[in-house]
Structure formats: structure tokens, C-alpha cells
């Protein structure tokens, strides 16, 4: 399988990365190189093989359903590019 320019632009949009025409063209070649490389997986017989979900045989751990941490609003917003009174500020999203 390979991708064309329109697909690359669509994927960039899905990934929320702005790409110029020139970048999209360059990426088309690069992505096709990688997709060509992974193409060899199609020759492996995977009939009846379970997909891996956990690399070590383990049961997902659970913990007590209690508050262990929190009340750290100032810490949470400390690294925000733009915040006000413990809120993250973003461009207007509701008209």
C-alpha cells in the first residue's frame, strides 16, 4: 500500500500538524519508503495468532478507590503558556 499527496494532507490534518505543500510532497516520499519497508509483514502467516496485548504475563493492577493525590491546581497550571486563576486559556471555541 502507498499514500498519495491527498492522503498525506488528510493524515496531517488528523494528526493536527500544519504542513506546507512542499513538506507534504517530501513526506509522501518518506512515508511511502517506510510503508514499503513494513510491507514485508504481509508475507507472515498470522492465521490463528493472537495479537499481543501485554508483553509480560501480568494482570492489570488495581488500587484502592481513594483520593491519593490532588488539590494542586497551581502545580497543574504552572507550566501553561497562558493561564488565569487556575484555568488554561485557549482561543475562543464557542461563538
Amino acid at each position: 500500500m502507498s499514500v498519495d499527496l491527498a492522503t498525506v494532507k488528510r493524515v496531517a490534518r488528523l494528526a493536527r500538524i500544519a504542513v506546507s505543500e512542499e513538506e507534504a510532497e517530501r513526506m509522501t516520499g518518506e512515508l511511502n519508503g517506510i510503508l514499503g519497508f513494513v510491507e514485508q509483514l504481509s508475507e507472515v502467516n498470522v492465521d490463528g495468532v493472537e495479537p499481543m496485548t501485554s508483553v509480560t504475563p501480568m494482570r492489570m493492577k488495581t488500587r484502592e478507590d481513594i483520593v491519593m493525590d490532588g488539590d494542586k491546581a497551581a502545580d497543574v497550571v504552572a507550566n501553561a503558556p497562558n493561564s488565569d486563576r487556575d484555568f488554561f486559556l485557549v482561543p475562543k471555541v464557542v461563538e
Binding site: M1, V3, T7, V8, V11, A12, R13, L14, A15, R16, I17, A18, V19, M27, E30, L31, G33, I34, L35, F37, V38, E39, Q40, L41, S42, V44, V46, V49, E50, P51, M52, T53, V55, T56, M58, M60, K61, R63, K72, D75, V77, A78, N79, A80, P81, N82, F88, V90, P91, K92, V93
Partner: protein, 493 residues
């Protein structure tokens, strides 16, 4: 008296506890070495001398009070991927500009609890995506090794290139690193250092910037096998903050060093003899086999038939997980923001400006293979292939093999800005051909120096073990180290 920075962790620890030296002296010696070298080597992206001296003074006080921890007063470098409270933590990416976490990763917390001193944050490929440290926003790291009679700058490998270079150039006593497809073992091999990727689940991933969560694992890079064992003992723990952290006690890894490997069965997988592999790599491998045989191990030929599919499967699984993990960098909660005409425009411009080329490429591949209509053909198939890769190893271990010996990399270190590699991303990916299988199967793997090639550059051997049998790797790697010797670059910087 020998230079303080040339001491191994074990040696420095002995001198500290005998009060022959202080941690402040040792730390000052490293800070001076970093100041003199870093402009050239570029191993550190942030040096924290004030903090280091303060930690060293506290260590000296604890030593005086007879309360020394296992790493008391030992100055370490920390890969920029580990969250360190109040200190530069940016995964060497532009998109995390200015990020200073308000929390500490479990691995670094464990190290400080054991008395270690932090010298600063180490350079790496952006988000740990790369095999040459050239994708760092902070520029490439120079390998302290150069070919005989050459002044060409070489890469230290990646992604833990800063960690490996700092250890090799004696700019820290040891370093933390992480390995998703070979990022500890390949740079260790390129710099004549020892690096171990432990079993998945052995070190907590809490506070480590995520790349591919089912593959990422932390481990140390050190001057020798014993130091790697000492560091891993402190880094590893059982952590309720990471649900994949395994509930097994952490053994005293250093205790396995010096133990006999007599009667151990070492597997030699025929699939690791790849086309176009330099003769020197084959010769190194044969030498490794001979050393282990001399030490009483039994050598058996094995087959791991799905080996060749590990790298292509990795280049589906890792980018898929990365595209999901890196969705959080949107210019809202931390790091870089580039303003746009609306919120989506802001996201797109922020991510376009903040991510480098290799990271964008992997996010794009990941997004594509997970997108509607392609999931089964790519991601699901890759996860099935992963099951087969793991099964290959399981069958070998069931047949009685205790550990597997392979070369660590298909070549020695290559040049910075190598045109061939820059032109073709897949060529760069092939660097991890011997290491990536281990991540896919979640197994422990160690890279240990085996010798120098005809250019005088280090080459590494890799040992792969059963899950949670790191001790077997340490004792076997120590046998190789005893036979091969240790390798230090001639200082040119």
C-alpha cells in the same frame, strides 16, 4: 592520585566510604570536566552545578553520620526524558520549551533516595526517536571516540546519545537512559560503555516522557558491568504509580558478578547473521562465542525464525503508540504555543513548529496505520507478528537456552550528518536490527564492549535473557568484559 573522574562507581564508593575523598570533591571534578568538554561534546543540555553541590554536601554529611545509601555521593547524568522536579525536562524537543515538572520520576526519585547526586540533563534524540542523537532540538552529540588518525566527528548512537557520550568521556560516573528499540544498547556499543535494558516492567515508567508505552523501558549506561548492576539495583522498584511495574523484589544484581557460567547454555541465533554485515562483526561474534566457551558455557545453535519481521513490526507499533502519546502536545497545558486564528489552527501551528522532522514522520505513520480502514492491515497484523517474535524466544528458552549472544549493532559508529542515512529514514532504522527484537518481546538485553574494529572504534556484543533474569546477563557480560577488557577513548576534546 588518579583523576577523580576516572573512578568507576564501585571505586568511588569505596573511596567515599573510606573517607579518602568527599562527594563535594568528586562532584566538583565532574562539574569542571563538563565545563571543559561540553561545548565540544554537547552531551548535557542543562547542567545543574548548584543543585549538584548541595546534594553532594548532604551526601558528605550522611557519610559522616554513617547513614550512607548505596549510591551516596555518586554524581550521575540524567537523560532529558526523565521528569526532574523544577529542572529542564523537555525530551530534547522544541515543543516542551521551558517545561519544568512539578514532580519527580520514580527512577530518579529512587536514585536520589539512595544518595546519588544529579549533575544535569543529558542530550538525546527528540522524544527518543532516533539512532544517532541527530534529531535533538539541541543539536547532535559528538562521540568521544574517533577513528584512528581521523578528526571526523562521529555520532554516539541514539537515542541515549548524551548518556553514552557523557559516560564514555567521564562527564558523569553513570547515567540513566531509556530503550524503546535499542536506545540504550546501540549507543553503549558505539561508545565502548555497558548498557542494559531490563525486562519490561522492571523499572517504573512513571515520570518518563512516553514514546511507545508497550516498549519503553529505563536502564543505566555505565563504565563497566558492575557499575551497571549497581545502578539498576537502585533504579528498579515496584511502583504503584505504574500499573505495568512488576511486583517482584529487586535482586542484588552486583552479587551475581564473578559467578561461574559453567554449564550455562548460550544460544547463537542464525538469523542474526544478516546480509552485508561487516566481517569484523562476525569475527567479534565468534570471539564472544570462544570466550564464553572457554568459561565453560555450552554453545548451541538456535533459530528465531521471525527475527527479520521485528523491525518492520516495530515501525508500525512504535509510531502508532507515539502518535497517541504525543497527542497531548497541543500548546495548551505546557511547552510551546504558536497562536492561530482559532484553536485548531493553534494546535496545527504549534505542532508544526514544535516537532522535528523525524517526530512528525512517526506521528504521521502512526496516525495513518491507526486510521479507519487500515487498522487490521497494519496495527493488528503487527501485534500478531509480535506474538510470533516473542514465541520464538520462548521456544528457545524452553529448549534449555539460558541466554542468547548476538552482535549489538551491525556496524561501529558512523559520521555525523552521514548523507546516505539522511536521505533514507529506513537505512537509519536498520541500526536497531539486532536490538529491537528484545523490546518487541519485552526481554532484558545488555550491550557490553567486545573490542575495537580496524578503525579503532568500539564494537559491542549483546546478551539477551529470560524475563527478569538480569542476573544471568550481568554474570555472563562480566565474563566477556574480563576477556575483552575495558575501552576508554583517547582525549581529544
Amino acid at each position: 592520585m588518579t583523576e577523580l573522574t576516572s573512578l568507576t562507581i564501585a571505586e568511588a564508593r569505596a573511596k567515599l566510604s573510606a573517607k579518602e575523598i568527599t562527594s563535594v570533591e568528586l562532584t566538583d571534578a565532574y562539574i569542571a570536566a563538563i565545563e571543559a568538554a561540553n561545548e565540544t561534546i554537547n552531551a548535557y543540555v542543562d547542567v545543574t552545578p548548584e543543585q549538584a553541590r548541595e546534594m553532594a554536601r548532604a551526601s558528605d554529611a550522611r557519610i559522616a553520620a554513617g547513614k550512607a545509601g548505596p549510591l551516596e555521593g555518586i554524581p550521575l547524568g540524567i537523560k532529558d526524558l526523565f521528569a526532574t522536579e523544577g529542572v529542564h525536562t523537555q525530551a530534547c524537543s522544541h515543543i516542551l520549551d521551558g517545561f519544568k515538572p512539578r514532580y519527580e520520576s520514580t527512577v530518579t526519585r529512587n536514585l536520589w533516595n539512595d544518595g546519588a547526586v544529579m549533575l544535569g540533563k543529558l542530550n538525546m534524540d527528540e522524544f527518543a526517536m532516533g539512532s544517532s542523537n541527530e534529531s535533538s532540538y539541541y543539536g547532535p552529540v559528538k562521540n568521544p571516540w574517533r577513528a584512528k588518525g581521523s578528526n571526523l566527528d562521529l555520532v554516539p548512537g541514539g537515542s541515549s546519545g548524551g548518556s553514552a557520550a557523557a559516560v564514555a568521556a567521564h562527564l558523569c560516573a553513570g547515567a540513566t537512559a531509556t530503550d524503546t528499540g535499542g536506545s540504550i544498547r546501540q549507543p553503549a556499543a558505539f561508545t565502548g560503555t555497558v548498557g542494559i535494558k531490563p525486562t519490561y516492567g522492571r523499572c517504573s515508567r512513571f515520570g518518563i516522557v512516553a514514546f511507545a508505552s508497550s516498549l519503553d523501558q529505563a536502564g543505566p549506561i555505565a563504565r563497566d558491568v558492575r557499575d551497571a548492576a549497581i545502578l539498576l539495583k537502585s533504579m528498579a522498584s515496584v511502583d504503584p504509580k505504574d500499573t505495568t511495574s512488576v511486583d517482584l523484589p529487586v535482586p542484588d544484581y552486583a552479587a551475581s558478578i564473578g559467578q561461574s557460567i559453567k554449564g550455562m547454555k548460550i544460544g547463537i541465533p542464525k538469523e542474526y547473521r544478516v546480509e552485508g554485515m561487516p566481517e569484523e562483526i562476525e569475527a567479534l561474534w565468534q570471539q564472544g562465542i570462544a570466550w564464553l566457551k572457554d568459561a565453560g558455557a555450552e554453545i548451541v545453535d538456535i533459530s528465531l525464525p521471525h527475527t527479520q519481521y521485528a523491525l518492520p513490526a516495530y515501525y508500525i507499533v512504535a509510531p502508532a503508540e507515539a502518535s497517541s502519546n504525543l497527542a497531548r502536545y497541543d500548546g495548551v497545558r505546557y511547552g510551546l504555543r504558536v497562536d492561530g486564528k482559532d484553536i485548531v489552527d493553534m494546535y496545527e501551528k504549534t505542532r508544526a513548529a514544535g516537532f522535528g522532522r523525524e517526530v512528525k514522520r512517526r506521528i504521521m505513520i502512526g496516525t495513518y496505520v491507526l486510521s479507519a480502514g487500515y487498522y487490521d492491515a497494519y496495527y493488528l497484523r503487527a501485534q500478531k507478528v509480535r506474538t510470533l517474535i516473542k514465541r520464538d524466544f520462548e521456544l528457545a528458552f524452553q529448549a534449555g537456552v539460558d541466554a542468547i549472544l548476538t552482535p549489538a549493532t551491525p556496524s561501529s559508529a558512523f559520521g555525523i550528518a552521514d548523507e546516505d542515512l539522511a536521505a533514507d529514514p529506513v537505512k537509519m532504522y536498520l541500526n536497531d536490527i539486532f536490538t529491537v527484537t528484545v523490546n518487541m518481546a519485552g526481554l532484558p538485553g545488555i550491550a557490553v564492549p567486545g573490542g575495537l574494529d580496524h578503525k579503532g572504534l568500539p564494537l559491542g556484543l549483546q546478551l539477551i535473557g529470560k524475563p527478569f533474569e538480569e542476573e544471568t546477563l550481568f554474570k555472563t557480560a562480566h565474563v566477556i568484559e574480563q576477556a575483552a577488557g575495558r575501552f576508554t577513548p583517547a582525549k581529544w576534546w
